[in-house]
Amino acid sequence: MSLFGTSAGFGTGGTGVFGSTTTDSHNPMKDVEVTSPPDDSISCLAFSPPTMPGNFLIGGSWANDVRCWEVQDNGQTVPKAQQMHTGPVLDVCWSDDGSKVFTASCDKTAKMWDLNSNQAMQIAQHDGPIKSIHWIKAPNYSCIMTGSWDKTLKFWDTRSPNPMMSLQMPERCYCADVVYPMAVVATAERGLIVYQLENQPSEFRRIDSPLKHQHRCVAIFKDKQNKPTGFALGSIEGRVAIHYINPPNPAKDNFTFKCHRSNGTNTATPQDIYAVNAISFHPVHGTLATVGSDGRFSFWDKDARTKLKTSEQLDQPITACCFNNNGNIFAYASSYDWSKGHEYYNPQKKNYIFLRNAAEELKPRNKK
């Protein structure tokens, strides 16, 4: 019984416990497999906000679809609904009340999907594919922020076809994150811009990149008072920079660390360096997870500057990840990210989304 009408019946209904019985490398961590995964690479994942009961996972893929699953407490996943774009979906986000899902696509549009009615309507238009979409909830306004390869960052009140505001960026948007009142956008050519969102969005600062390679993913972290205070930026060179906006001592406080590289200590063979595909912060502990083209995920404690865990290697890159609203679930997607080019793309290869219990493994390491 396939709820997602398209492909060959992967929809085995509700059994979430799919994990392979043999140790084949598609799920070496033996995590829960989400049922009815998309038919092409998964580009983005997002869990529902705390304002909604339950856990609903949204995943966008290169198959032009956005799927919604309900993740039940016993770990079972139930496919719920799906929407389509006319081009690959690159990013998704939830509204703060959990009633709408926003999707951004290569078809240069963004849509608002009302989950109650299961209707989606276009709310944004760019001149190029939209790479990032985020919901902004400010005391005096709410809107959607879309970053596109057309080098603009636009803000949309979903009721109007014209953007509320359009900001020019130096280059194509590659990734972005929003934690009110801060937004960070990383662009091509290692551009990095911080925006402040109070009253109305405006550019706050352009930052010289702490990384020397193409930016790939960014995630804002908060301080102990739950205010955004900095961000983690990942590049294609297996490295993440932790950067504070106003640190007391930038030289000390900001740092980078290497990750997602092969053969750590063996210097005999050249080291393979993989791109960091996504970074997510645990909503409670403040520790972070990175996933890379090497097919591994790692958990880190940025304050203790230590690695908490690295997974076994999956047979495909991990392209997306996210935590649910209370940090108990870590979802990660295993699919091809094009890191080895066109030749290694196998459309027949199955894509996966795994769920892992994240309550324990992301606890911060006690600082010595």
Binding site: G5, T6, K30, D39, S43, P50, G54, N55, D65, D73, K80, A81, Q82, M84, G98, S99, D107, K111, D114, N118, Q119, M121, Q122, I123, Q125, H126, W149, R159, P161, N162, M164, L167, P181, M182, Q196, E198, N199, S202, R205, Q214, I236, R239, N246, P248, N249, P250, A251, N254, F255, K258, R261, P270, Y274, T306, K307, E312, N326, S339, N357, K368
Partner: protein, 474 residues
Amino acid sequence: MGRKKKKQMKPWCWYCNRDFDDEKILIQHQKAKHFKCHICHKKLYTGPGLAIHCMQVHKETIDGVPNAIPGRTDIELEIYGMEGIPEKDMEERRRVLEQKTQESQKKKQNQDDSDEYDEDEEPGPSFQQPAAQPQAGYMPPMTQPGMPPGSSAPGMPPGSYSGMPPMMPGVPPMMPGMPPVIPGMPPGMMPMGGMMPPGPGMPPMMPGMPPGIPPPVGHRPGMAHMAQAPPAAGPNMLTRPAMPAATAPSAQPAVTKPLFPSAGQMGSRVASTSTSTGSSSADSQSASSKALFPSTSQSQQTVSGSPHPTPSTSSDPSKPTFPAYTQATASVASPSAGSSTVSKPPSTVTSKPATLTTSSATSKLIHPDEDISLEELRAQLPRYQRNIPRQGQATVSAPPVGPLGGMMAPQQPGMRHPVPGQYGGPPQGMPGYMPGGMPPYGQGPPMVPPGYQGAPPRPPMGMRPPVMSPGSRY
């Protein structure tokens, strides 16, 4: 400075010329980097100590101090922290430091004249300054030499960067080629990352610092943010005795808004085209009751443990540290860095993209050569550009039931006509959709079991009537 310190300058490592906030950290650094046995990783206290250890325990001789710059590898010199440094090297260092100070002071002064920043900003072409400081690392925080001494008033408000009046917070800019301090990092952690020798990149740093910005903004680290933080006196005692004060305390209202100083001011400085003044009223999203899916039963909030609680065996507790970045400067040849920097094409994207250097002797970047993102590369493929839904959507039940998005709503003449014109730049986007007439834009309803069919098959465009009407335009 008043009383001459014993060493007269910040502690620095004789072996690699790096600067540190205090001697304790310097020693930790030395133990971890220079006096560490490469065989068993035991940390010794001195060079000779390391040599003896290797001989006795591993029966191996070492001929030089690891990670030392050429000329400073003498294994026989007994150096511990700042003790044991030959006098001539100390003098040479002092000379070099002074030179740097003077250079940047001069530069500072030159720039002061032409500076057009706000007056209340700490006189500070502090941004251009970084250029003078090679390897200043991250945001070489405000205080630059040449800062009018006045600002170094002793009464440096607590908000001041380090609280140390004359101190240059953050990185000692003068250190030629010196990676910035690695304070207090447990040995082996060397997280000094991000100390990219911005060098040439620095000057343009805040190219367009519009005057409106309160000083703390921009790269004044700790400016507003640190207003509350007790200026960590000790560690921030950064050299530059000659350097007048630190910055920016200037009574910034910033104190109240740690992260982003007065948002209002920010608004003016955006170098962009604001088409309208945002602030629409609070969102009108219907605050639907949380009945998300009509047929769903409420599930509990937390997910009780998954069937596979904490299995994995892959953690490496023995190696808790970040394989850190360390040497930003100097030893560029370090195997870690991998490929060299990306070549930068002119900003036109459309022409053939520049390429990355993806391979070096010691490492290989697993990434296609073109310097564009993986998604851009992939999106170029024809299979992703066909603007028809994939995978036989044709099968999906009903004809395009949902004129979702309103763009493609031929069924709703009333709505439709105004629409194309309204969405920003429809001409660009539209053509893609038009072919094939009514691409089943929204596959939503058909996919879903009846239970979810929230709306009747004719999802009214008028789901959101206000959206389309011209009147609601912003």
